[in-house]
């Protein structure tokens, strides 16, 4: 019990003295997760709209497959990315393994099903009359798509928040393709894993608290955005 208490005290000391190592790890975590979600959204939102607005053979199967991949294990994505980017793999020449870049690539793949699937269901939730109304008001297909996305914005934001949560909290992928290199690819989750295995509870707890705090702040921001309407 004393150990946990001491751990907490030390954790808060590390946080409030802006311990450079803790801050850099937290910063990198945020940076990687946010980059992944932003890049993922830039790809997923138009792609989801494309899938939603077009009828084609196998659409239902595609959507089911996407939804199945919501819970794809992070280590499976890690394995895939590792095999692709290892020097003996097809993309080895890019020299990206064990870099933050490849972690972002992996996380984009990881969050893509959530972003795609939840955006598609968000769009399906929009009244079909909205599309007709927009078109009748003279919107071209691109403008129509934006209107529908905007109508579905709360559900889309929820998808983005969920994707961010998955990105910042995953450990398997970050460990496998990032390599947990100190000062370069070490993020909150991999650091917690390492420090706990070393028995260094104080640092682990400090990092864990920061992780929860980040999640809290992001959720508050998103809620405020939603409440503006």
């Amino acid at each position: 019990m004393a150990e946990i208490w001491n751990g907490l005290v030390e954790a808060f000391r590390l946080i409030f003295t802006f311990d450079p190592e803790v801050m850099s790890i937290a910063g990198l975590s945020l940076e990687i997760a946010l980059s992944s979600v932003v890049i993922g959204s830039i790809i997923a939102l138009p792609l989801a709209s494309l899938i939603h607005f077009n009828n084609f053979r196998g659409k239902h199967i595609l959507v089911s497959v996407i939804q199945t991949f919501y819970s794809i294990p992070t280590v499976t994505v890690g394995l895939l990315v590792f095999v692709l980017f290892s020097h003996s793999g097809p993309l080895g020449g890019l020299d990206l393994l064990f870099t933050p870049t490849v972690m972002v690539i992996g996380q984009v793949i990881l969050v893509m099903p959530i972003l795609l699937g939840m955006t598609i269901s968000a769009l399906s939730g929009v009244d079909r009359n909205i599309i007709d109304t927009a078109r009748s008001m003279g919107a071209n297909s691109w403008q129509t798509m934006l209107v529908v996305l905007k109508e579905a914005r709360f559900a889309v934001i929820a998808a983005v928040v969920l994707a961010f949560g998955r990105a910042i909290s995953e450990v398997g992928l970050a460990m496998m393709v990032g390599g947990n290199i100190r000062g370069f690819t070490r993020v909150l989750t991999t650091a917690i894993s390492l420090e706990t295995s070393k028995g260094d509870w104080e640092l682990s707890m400090a990092l864990g608290i920061i992780l929860i705090f980040i999640a809290l702040v992001i959720n508050i921001i998103m809620n405020r955005i939603q409440q503006r309407r």
Partner: protein, 360 residues
Amino acid sequence: MAFIELKNLGQKRDGRHILSGVNLSVERGESVALIGPTGAGKTTLLRLLDMLDKPATGKILIDGVNVTSSEKERLATRRRMAFVLQKPVVFNLSVYENVAYGLKWRGLDRHQIREKVNHILETVELTKYSKRNARTLSGGEMQRVAIARAIATSPEVLLLDEPSANLDPVSSAKIEDLISKIIRENAITVIMATHDMAQGQRLAHKICVLVNGEIVQTGNAQQIFELPKNREVAEFVGMENILDGVVATNKSGLAVIKVGGKEIETVTKFGAGKEVSLCIRPEDVTVALARLSSSARNRLAGTISWVAFNGPLCRLEIDCGFPLIALVTKRSAVEMKLKRGVKVYGIIKVVSIHVIERQD
């Protein structure tokens, strides 16, 4: 050359024809009402007119140009029109933004948009709700937003689908006033769908009756009301008595028609032996207790089978070998002590009877 011309327009859904062989000309500035029962194809026709759907057959010409050819052409044409859908849907945005959208899409600058939107909101009396989320408005207010949104873009053609359906009588009257004001002030071409005959009569120059996906009759209100072309139109415009009979004799237009053992005189071009239906409005049937000597030629004796009071009016059915519905004022019904079992005469003027060919 008419402004809008529909040529042999048809539409299918799930392999079934829901609209076929529609030919229609609309002049610039004319307002046309499409009337017909629910499911007749009114909405389908409006959607084709607004280029929202592609027709299965036929084409649409505007100023003689076929506008259904390419998507680019269709979008350009759509931008000359506005369509108020039956169920008012507003975007989950402020009233102002709702009205501004169409203008933004047409590339107007912020200043022009503000000026225009504020003017329109004044027209539809929604200025005070400008900043409010449109989803929080009442049905009538939403419909006004929808109309404001439509006219904001100064369309050449305004398409309205049941503009006052699902609204309470007060909101409905308000919307109707607004539409007639728009028609008056803008010399705009209007094509509206309605199942309310009277509304069509109030708002339109020309009425098209649509039944089962076909235009069965086009004309002004009086023509449609008094001279329905067939049984369906007759039913729709309120001809409650449609009596099947056969022409017995026809002497230079004045004919005797046998209906359920009785003879009814009327004016028709159909010759002896022709199977016809007689259309008679209930208000054109006069009820009398005695065999009055009036100028009316048809006096049908019978017994009242039921009486129903409805506000200041009274509807009743006379069994005179066939059921004949009559509409009298409540006052005369009381004076004459009309009730079930009373023997009366139904009196019908020759000119009140409209004869149509019998359909199978």
